[in-house]
Symmetry: C2
Subunit: 291 residues, 2 copies
Amino acid sequence: MEIIDGNQIAASINRELHAEVASLTGRKPCLALVRVGEDPASVSYVKKKEKTAAEIGVTSRIILPPITITQGELFRLIDELNENSTVDGILVQSPLPPHLDEVAVFRRVNPEKDVDGFNTVNLGKIAQEDSSGFVACTPAGIMELLARSHVDLNGKHVVVLGRSLIVGKPIALLALQKKTGANATVTICHSATQNLPAITRQADVLIAAIGRPNFVTATMIKPGAVVIDVGINRLADPSKKSGYRLTGDVNFSEVAPLCSKITPVPGGVGPMTVAMLMQNTVKAFRLRSSR
Amino acid sequence: MEIIDGNQIAASINRELHAEVASLTGRKPCLALVRVGEDPASVSYVKKKEKTAAEIGVTSRIILPPITITQGELFRLIDELNENSTVDGILVQSPLPPHLDEVAVFRRVNPEKDVDGFNTVNLGKIAQEDSSGFVACTPAGIMELLARSHVDLNGKHVVVLGRSLIVGKPIALLALQKKTGANATVTICHSATQNLPAITRQADVLIAAIGRPNFVTATMIKPGAVVIDVGINRLADPSKKSGYRLTGDVNFSEVAPLCSKITPVPGGVGPMTVAMLMQNTVKAFRLRSSR
């Protein structure tokens, strides 16, 4: 059994991006990070993105509108970033406060600067197998983890647990693409699925993205399967300084011995998302420069 | 075993649409049908659409550019229709001649007039479960056939054969939606799928859309399954005046006795597509009028 080391793979990607950005003459790729309000998790996510951008040589521009910003004001802010020729990528950190319509905000971002991959057009492009678009960072990170762990999905049965718009559906569409490394048979399961263990036991590759701690147990696994755990659940743990520990959707201790490869939580899919954001930003820069 | 009568269901929908259109005061919904060149199948499809529109009371406008039209000229034609406030829906009949880029043409159509549902934005909206978009006519027709045949997909295992952009992927995303009538577990199979009969035998509802005549045989069916045959294959048949007969992807004579419900070919999914085009056109009219 091999534990897939997301930290190490993300670090490799960041090094490659650093070399790529260093080789650029003139202006460097620029990522605008928009954070509305002071949500503590958002503060820490944006800080992490800013830090990684700096390591790679990507310019970041941090915009911190107050939590009272109206939808119209946020739209105008996004419009300005859309039109600003020195900005390549735009990320609006979610969650947004409840008075703002998140989907409408994501749609406002120019698809060509939508490095978060949440715009409707970029979702449609995954279905169209059109690689000119941007894939959301978590599903993109999963595909990259699999490729760099030498897991070829061709002809394999991939079972996805969860049908969310940011993980389940895009990863299913990516695994299904008629491309090298993909080309899998795909089953998508969710809360209404009957006889779930009978289905997950058919998975050559099981991708768990349902947000329920330790949900996937040994009886749900075919021996030799590859298991990708997308869950990031906080469980109360008084022994930790933070008061909690992170747990995936997979019961790691009982499932891992059955697997050929498995991602841990933390240190699996998580670290990949920021690397993919940077990769998307460099891609946006290149696409815009070549136009 | 019940044979699902697509002709009858389509006729009901057309009658409902006729009543709806008759109740409109003022301008009627208008569909622009663009047919490039004289491909015989396209001539007959466009004629059928024009005829059904007339029956329902939808105005149709037929535009017949020559096969020599350039991409730029076709774009300008579409732009004019996009801007024309008396046009509600635009359909560019496929296939287009090889010198025209079909995907680019479909993307040129304003998503709000894209009654064919082929624009990237409308694909993305299916994934987003955003019902303000337009679903392509074949997958929309399948969902309508199932609903009007009282097949509730909730908790059922739907297996889709084929991953095309116009049938396989959208029908998979529709069956997966967290909506009344949908909410299914979905598996998508294709040419690279291993042990296909073992997967299709798990299907409560099997949707065959691969374009291979009589491909689905009795050994691939779970007794009691619902089978939807999307295939329209022409087989040479000297006994017919036309010289061919239409055959689905399902070996009807051996599969039908095992099913609870099955669609025939012809007379199953086929007749639904024009009815769905008309439904989309009336929807486009209503959405534009309410704006």
